[in-house]
């Protein structure tokens, strides 16, 4: 006889492949009460509307590493775009049609001599308006404190070994700029179209803790 599962209670995975956060079914926490209260008060007082909240959530949901992957893939296949990206990554992203709002973006290029990695030691600054929300580990104390003192060890824990003749550059997002790593194009992808190339670009490669990978 078929067994009826309430999957969200039993550790099943969400469409993105991650565990669901217990949400609607659990006992309301103090901070959740605060969120509801702040939201309703701001709406009642006329500072924001429910529609704006809904739209902002949709806007953030639409932002994901796939956007960054398209930017990188275009840079790999179009030298003029790559040059524009390295000059002003924010403008180049907007020119591709991405709405990144007021974000200031700098692209830093990995080469045979340089490997770049991005961190925000002071909080959790991340190019969210292009890539979406950062992963939990990026916001962790361990990542934030160790990446500026032992980047190669951190990278090695992520599975990336950097040769001794390559310089590691750590970018600490201390102020108004956000950073996108432009990974080096893997040799085996030469000749692929921009659409095909995008599948090789991982989120971690755009933070600098990973390298582009063949799509599964």
């Amino acid at each position: 006889m078929p067994h009826d599962h309430h999957d969200h209670d039993h550790g099943a995975l969400s469409p993105s492949g991650h565990p669901y956060r217990k949400d609607d079914d659990i006992v309301l926490s103090y901070w959740q009460m605060m969120e509801i209260s702040v939201r309703e008060l701001l709406i009642e007082k006329g500072h924001i509307t429910a529609a704006q909240i809904h739209n902002q959530i949709n806007t953030m949901d639409a932002r994901s590493p796939a956007n960054g992957a398209k930017v990188v893939a275009r840079a790999w296949s179009d030298p003029e775009f790559k040059s524009a990206l390295l000059t002003d990554a924010g403008q180049a992203s907007r020119d591709m049609g991405f709405d990144i709002g007021p974000m200031h973006l700098i692209a830093v290029e990995n080469t045979i001599l340089v490997h770049n990695v991005v961190v925000c030691t002071l909080c959790s600054c991340y190019p969210r308006n292009l890539l979406g929300l950062p992963p939990d580990w990026y916001k962790s104390r361990a990542y934030r404190s160790r990446t500026v003192i032992e980047p190669r060890k951190v990278l090695s824990e992520f599975g990336v070994e950097i040769a001794q003749d390559v310089q590691v550059r750590v970018h600490d997002s201390t102020a108004d700029m956000r950073y996108l790593v432009l990974p080096a194009q893997p040799k085996e992808t030469m000749g692929l179209s921009a659409d095909e190339l995008a599948y090789w670009v991982t989120r971690d490669s755009m933070i600098g803790v990973g390298l582009p990978q063949a799509p599964k």
Partner: protein, 99 residues
């Protein structure tokens, strides 16, 4: 912070809950409305101290900061917040009931 000793990096990730996405949206919209800004968000977070970092999750700290920012900029008073939170509590025991 930078350079302080720390252990291994936990690679677990989670999907964001609706209430967390709402907190994020509130921060962005309240900033656009001129009621706070990224720096004031961060300043309040920093002033909450070590214990908050140890005991509260990322978006719990954010909603605490947004709320304090709203009181500081006069968007609502602490009394109004208290009354509202009591109303919310009375609606039900789960997030789904109270929203």
């Amino acid at each position: 912070m930078g350079g302080d000793p720390a252990g291994g990096i936990n690679h677990d990730q989670h999907d964001f809950a609706l209430w967390e996405k709402r907190v994020d949206a509130l921060m962005v919209l309240a900033s656009s409305a001129g009621l706070m800004n990224t720096d004031s968000l961060r300043r309040v977070l920093e002033d909450m101290g070590e214990e908050a970092y140890e005991t509260m999750s990322y978006y719990e700290r954010w909603i605490a900061s947004v709320s304090q920012n709203m009181v500081e900029s006069g968007a609502f008073s602490t009394a109004e917040l208290a009354d509202k939170m009591a109303q919310i509590k009375a609606r039900g025991t789960t997030y789904g009931d109270a929203t």
